[in-house]
Subunit: 194 residues, 3 copies
């Protein structure tokens, strides 16, 4: 189900980045390691899990032996390293890369399950954004979608390009690369000039 343009290693990298944002939020709130791991998990797999439950298939990480270990390894790294290593712009840029990748991947998976184009776009946005929303709601923080920055919009752009390219029957590798780039550049612009 993973589009070939997004090799599994990139998909896992995206999960790890999102997991790291969850672990760091828990660290900032001075939580224990188990709570950090819990936040790493819900942020890392929340979006993809919601997508899978909505399209009616088991969550992708239940039958993949790598996703959960990668998330716990991420939580361990966050626990044993100083927080200032992670709080610069680097994390924001990694998050932007993960957001765009998940939006493309989520849209492509939904289309592969026969979901209509506009709902498939919505699935892409959910895959990219829902993990962060769930993280913020459980932590009692203002949700990322309530902030004025371009975040959901960047995911929506990546998802829209994926659907459009598929409707035009362009080659998948080209469409997915362009869609990822569009989402990443828009989110990057929001980080750079916010």
């Amino acid at each position: 189900m993973v589009p070939t343009v997004l090799p599994p290693i990139l998909d896992l990298a995206g999960t790890a980045v999102f997991a790291l944002t969850g672990a760091l939020l828990a660290a900032r709130l001075r939580q224990t390691f188990v709570t950090m791991a819990f936040f790493a998990l819900i942020t890392g797999v929340g979006g993809g899990s919601l997508r899978d439950m909505l399209i009616g298939t088991p969550a992708f990480w239940t039958h993949n032996p790598w996703v959960a270990p990668v998330i716990f390894a991420t939580a361990l790294i966050a626990w044993f390293t100083p927080r200032r290593w992670w709080e610069g712009e680097l994390l924001e840029w990694a998050d932007a890369a993960g957001l765009a990748a998940f939006a493309v991947l989520g849209t492509a998976k939904a289309m592969a399950f026969g979901v209509a184009p506009i709902p498939a776009m919505v699935m892409g946005v959910i895959t990219g954004c829902a993990g962060g929303v769930i993280r913020d709601v459980i932590a009692g923080e203002p949700s990322i979608i309530m902030r004025p920055e371009l975040y959901v919009t960047a995911a929506a752009l990546a998802a829209a390009v994926t659907v459009l390219g598929s409707a035009l029957a362009l080659p998948d590798a080209l469409v997915w690369s362009a869609a990822w780039l569009a989402g990443f550049v828009l989110r990057g612009a929001a980080i750079r000039w916010k």
Copy 2:
């Protein structure tokens, strides 16, 4: 799956009303259009999606080409019209109509999937109320179910009449009409004399 007493157009009208309440909440919080569309979506399809995930079937809007476009059209209308058009009692009455319709529809769909009577009632209440609860939780507002008004109760009444009529083997059109009316009148009384 849509009961015949609730023609698809009424079902879409209910989705649009709920979507409008989500979009207006986002507007009141001075959000961007994309966030308005996001809130319109989660409020419009949240309850039905949770019901579908619980009974183990793909969410109704993934394979229906109309639901997502209707929601985005609603968000556009909310964006381009003055808020005072929508903030009178009209919206509350429309919400009451949608609540009762979704409670009946959700109960009937659950029974059609072989769900036992009491869990099927619960599915009707979830279909009617969960979208609004998710909207309030993500926005950080006090949830509608925490307010003292009769809201969940109206949905529960409509769902109970649906189950009861089915147990008595009365004709579906009669049962669903009576159930919708019971829920709508109870919610209407709460609006009128709150």
Copy 3:
């Protein structure tokens, strides 16, 4: 699907205990009976429902005629009895027993559906903890997983022992008893010396 070491009556008892914690939270917030029943429901079935949606099977209570009635009976009991009956340590110990039982049951069910060991452990933790998290998020209370006590950790221990025992091919009844005991003792220690 219910492991034999956890007869259905124990499973229902666990659901009732969690439902009671939900109903009591609503009572403390001075809510109506319907809202109490709603909180009893989400707390009682929230964790198991999320597990079932993630592994791709209908929620356990949709096809079980006993779960929903037990929950509503619990809400009735909470409504008609004085709150001080329930607010001592007894409720905390009952919750500890339910937490450990749900963690074992959730892990065993996930493994029976072919979920890999580490994700299966996560499913056990979700089964034990998610109902309480959803309860707290909807009520706007600080979530149990944000408190410094050992709670998620106790569920994780019970789940880990279940997976480990299964990997060593030990008899199920022995593994599940030991796993339940480990989780219950750890949570009990946290209650006793917090």
